[in-house]
């Protein structure tokens, strides 16, 4: 039977069931791999990641080919005009995107192709970023996947990289030692690694159906 579960990081709770997330998913609970609880006000925006035609396979190959690299030379985050107005961000401004795993910076591409969502009576904004950029090549950018948590889908252990919660801070990302200070303001330090109420604690086994195909049948307890 088809069913619906919310992504592991979601701004809302599941409208169908009392349980938000898939019960047999692997969480890989670690301090560096924390998941925000549903509706966490520190990470109010939804981030989704997608591919660009110009870097279709992966940036590691296309960024080194000048004819492809010039077509999409920088990392950008698409956002709706409504969100841009709220954040006081103009098209082309630098923004820093923070999740519980880390922070990156990109340009803002303001477009009406992005629409705010209205879920359960509240407006939820979404931004979308391609994930083709990295530290090498003629065109470089921050790696979107730095924000993504590692998880394991029950059947083939693919991680959920297309839906996560984030916060957006207008302005460039500080680098070097300044980054350590800056990140403390937006990402809670310390505390247990399993912030999400449905996330098993470190060391617990993931559940009966998660054996078999998944290689790492246990959550990592380091």
């Amino acid at each position: 039977m088809p069913t619906h579960y919310e992504p592991l990081e979601s701004p809302v709770k599941n409208a169908l069931y009392s349980r938000d997330t898939n019960p047999v998913v692997n969480w890989f609970t670690r301090q560096e791999n924390r998941f925000a609880p549903p509706g966490d006000p520190r990470f109010p925006f939804v981030l989704t990641t997608y591919r660009l035609t110009e870097h279709h396979t992966a940036g590691g190959m296309s960024r080194f080919l000048s004819h492809l690299a010039e077509l999409q030379p920088e990392l950008f985050a698409e956002m709706s005009p409504e969100l841009a107005t709220e954040l006081k961000v103009k098209n082309g401004d630098y923004i820093s995107i923070v999740s519980l795993r880390g922070a990156i910076e990109s340009r803002a591409l303001v477009s009406r192709r992005m629409r705010p969502m209205h879920l359960n009576g509240k407006t939820v904004h979404q931004i979308a970023m391609p994930f083709h950029f990295g530290t090498s090549g003629p065109v470089r950018g921050d790696a979107t996947n730095d924000l993504v948590p590692i998880s394991g889908e029950p059947n083939v252990t693919i991680m959920e990289a297309k839906a996560l919660a984030c916060n957006i801070v207008p302005g460039r990302l500080p680098r070097g030692p300044a980054f350590e200070e800056w990140i403390k303001k937006y990402v809670p330090q310390g505390g247990p690694p399993n912030l999400h109420p449905e996330q098993p604690p470190p060391g617990a086994s993931p559940g009966p159906a998660a054996g078999g195909h998944s290689q790492h049948g246990k959550t990592d307890s380091r």
Binding site: T85, V110, R112, T123
Partner: protein
């Protein structure tokens, strides 16, 4: 939109205004290509291309004008027996027109080593092709004319051969004068017959301006080199008077958005300052007998004006709205 936040309402208002009026003044969210058309055309990209020419080109216009009209003055001087003036004018014509002008043009080429390709074809529908041939013909007449004139003046070859030399000199000099008038004026056609709105909308004014500026500059330079004559003074008055009239014409003959590069942009001031220097100011200075200053003012104005016309072309060529607006003329 079902949301009621003030920012949503404001965005709706902006969209309505953009839809109705096509433009939204003031600051706001800059949406790429979206409902708030901040820039004309396609993201404000140029519709035509601005000229790629560098400083050598306006300097060549200036030199070419002087050279061409010097040959005209030399012809007049020859007819009325002012041999010294004729020699001075032909030196100016040869150096400016046969040496400096080609060097400047070749320097501006993207591939200078292929400069001779300019003479591969003769195309009357291309002002630049005509210009290449005019310049070549001018040089081919001015240099032998000068050599023959100098040989005759220094009486190197006495007797009949000397007289033949004089006839040859006169012929070459008159021929160079014909090509010279075209050399001084074709550059106005060169700019006028393009897709740049500020240029093609003034295609009648430009040849008159460049030609007259050339005539006045040649007279002024000859005066500064020591040839003080009533005839040159008259030419100085004439050129400054025509330039003053052109300044008035340019100021009243506006085409709105289509030539706003001239009338609203800073580079238009270069043209106006140039025209003031070689128009009213030169007239006034000459009237009060400050002839060298009048000449200098004219020369500086003529050069600044050329620079201004190229600068205005770059601005106009980069402005999509001026191209759309110019279509109705």
């Amino acid at each position: 939109m079902t949301s009621n936040s003030p920012s949503e309402k404001r965005l709706e208002e902006l969209r309505e205004q953009a839809w109705k009026e096509g433009v939204v003044p003031g600051k706001g969210v800059d949406v790429a290509g979206g409902p708030i058309p901040r820039k004309a055309g396609y993201y404000g990209q140029p519709v035509v291309k601005p000229p790629v020419w560098t400083w050598q080109v306006p300097l060549y216009f200036f030199m070419g004008g002087i050279a061409g009209m010097s040959a005209v003055i030399a012809s007049g001087a020859i007819i009325f027996h002012h041999v010294d003036l004729a020699r001075g004018a032909m030196w100016l014509a040869a150096i400016a027109g046969a040496v400096l002008s080609p060097v400047l043009l070749i320097m501006d080429l993207g591939r200078p080593r292929l400069f001779l390709n300019m003479l591969r074809v003769f195309k009357h529908r291309s002002a630049m092709s005509m210009g290449a041939w005019i310049l070549s013909a001018f040089g081919a007449c001015a240099v032998p004319g000068l050599i023959a004139l100098e040989l005759h003046a220094h009486q190197v070859f006495p007797g009949t051969f000397g007289q033949l030399l004089r006839i040859a000199a006169d012929t070459f000099i008159f021929a160079s004068a014909i090509f010279g008038t075209l050399l001084a004026t074709y550059t106005g056609v060169l700019l006028g017959a393009t897709a740049i709105p500020a240029w093609f909308l003034h295609r009648t004014l430009l040849p008159i301006h460049f030609g007259t500026a050339g005539l006045g500059s040649a007279a002024a330079l000859l005066e500064l080199l020591g040839h003080r004559m009533a005839a040159l003074n008259f030419l100085g008055y004439y050129a400054a008077a025509v330039e003053s009239a052109l300044l008035i014409w340019l100021s009243v003959d506006k085409h709105g958005v289509a030539d706003r590069a001239i009338h609203e942009h800073g580079s238009g001031w270069l043209i106006r300052i140039g025209e003031i220097l070689n128009g009213p100011l030169a007239l006034v200075l000459r009237f009060f007998s400050f002839v060298p200053f009048a000449g200098l003012s004219f020369l500086i104005g003529a050069l600044i004006s050329r620079v201004g016309w190229i600068a205005v072309g770059k601005v106009s060529g980069s402005d999509p709205e001026s191209v759309f607006a110019a279509e109705r003329y």
